[in-house]
């Protein structure tokens, strides 16, 4: 018994403490170094932060270059796939276009009417400015959903700025470097944004799930949310401007899960934008315009 314990200790010592043949660094030394890196990073130690920024700038660019072959394969795969779905998509798009054309005429009138009414009630009107950015890294790990873009503090990007794909919200900036920034997608488990559900003007919080959809949490009023209701940013807290479309509540995706206390109806939100297909995105800068 004593001997087998000794063998175990000797094997552990040999594996971790003994410097292996042709190895420049000791394993245990590097493990300690990694732990120090982690702890100092957690404590926001200035030296580690500068090292992080330096490594990030280099790695983001290198990763973009190294990803070119895989992106080419990915693009080819998508092209082939879209060719197969072409006819069905054409029919759907034709139908949608007809509907949109009729809606656009009404929209123009509503926008101008809304602006006029806002001025009457002395509400602020937002002045927006969009910065186009390219997605450098789109490596959505199973745990964290984020992308890296090629604009940073040099272009006056700031933490918390809204990121749009077309007119749809996809996330917000959570890390700004000099030339690059990281965007936390709405689908990330750690993403929480204030939203309003229309019709009904229900204030709520949209949380990411780590999957390709979000869920409605902390509903302010106990009004019933219907399927096909649209989710917009509410503008609460001044993080995003109000009225950016986010997604739609889908009936067929609603499911029930049994909790120990009661049956909970999960309100899923299907995002308008496909986060796996982000190529170019807009960083939205907005400010209140004086009336």
């Amino acid at each position: 018994m004593e001997s087998s314990r000794d063998d175990f200790v000797i094997a552990i010592r040999s594996a971790f403490l003994k410097k292996q043949n042709k190895q420049r660094f000791s394993l245990i030394g590097l493990i300690f170094f990694a732990i120090i890196f982690l702890v100092l990073g957690r404590l926001n130690f200035a030296g580690i932060n500068y090292t992080k920024i330096f490594i990030k700038e280099i790695v983001y660019r290198s990763s973009f270059i190294v990803s070119i072959p895989e992106n080419y394969i990915k693009k080819t795969y998508m092209t082939v796939k879209s060719h197969f779905d072409l006819y069905e998509e054409y029919i759907v798009i034709k139908k949608d276009l007809k509907k949109l054309k009729s809606e656009k005429k009404i929209d123009k009138f509503i926008i101008s009417e809304n602006e006029r009414l806002k001025r009457i009630v002395n509400d602020y009107v937002v002045d927006t400015n969009q910065i186009l950015a390219k997605v450098l890294i789109d490596k959505q790990s199973p745990f964290l959903k984020s992308v890296v873009i090629n604009k940073g503090s040099r272009e006056n990007l700031k933490l918390g700025m809204a990121i749009l794909d077309g007119n749809y919200l996809v996330g917000k900036i959570v890390e700004v470097n000099y030339l690059t920034s990281r965007v936390l997608l709405l689908s990330d488990l750690n993403s929480k944004i204030p939203v309003i559900i229309e019709p009904g003007s229900i204030q709520s919080i949209l949380s990411g799930t780590g999957k390709n959809h979000g869920v409605i949490q902390y509903q302010k009023e106990k009004k019933k949310i219907q399927e096909e209701n649209t989710v917009y940013t509410s503008g609460s807290g001044g993080i995003f401007k109000a009225g950016i479309p986010v997604g739609v509540i889908k009936k067929n995706l609603m499911n029930t899960s049994i909790d120990s206390e009661a049956i909970i109806l999960e309100k899923r939100v299907t995002f308008f934008s496909d986060f796996s297909q982000l190529g170019f995105i807009n960083v939205l800068e907005f400010q209140e315009e004086s009336n």
Partner: protein, 172 residues
Amino acid sequence: MSKFSENSYFQYFVNFFPVILLFVSVLNEFDFNYLELKYFSFNFPFILIFYWSLKRAESLGYGYIFVAGLINDVVVGLPMGISSFTYLLICGFSSYLRTITLRPNVFKDWLFFLFTILVINSLTYSILVLFFSLNLNFINLLLNLFFTFLFYIMFASLFDIYLKIFFGVRND
């Protein structure tokens, strides 16, 4: 002379192939996201590091592994140092297995790999959740672990062929 230098370049490439593969995999992430396979993901660096630390440790220096971990953290967006820590622990586990093994067997390696990634992922999960207050999807983590375990045997066979061709080593 020319032939000799060509050979030495080739030899250099063959020796450093695992390091190159490791850096490409952390910079690029073989995620196959575009296939839109629900719940499918695996951790290729885990397989690569475990295998090469076990079979031919001199091909994969600890220093390179540490740097690869830092790069992986930057690309994926994890707190810096966490991947280096896990990668180096895998090296430690495989080194321990190499020390205690008298007759190498691929299935024993495979089972020990499962034990290793279970311990490593539990540690990572605990650190990220308790120390960094990050929310992680436990099911995704488990599925990632499961596919990593499944793919080990396939990649180990490919690496065995590579070792046999270029270094003349038999591993079973």
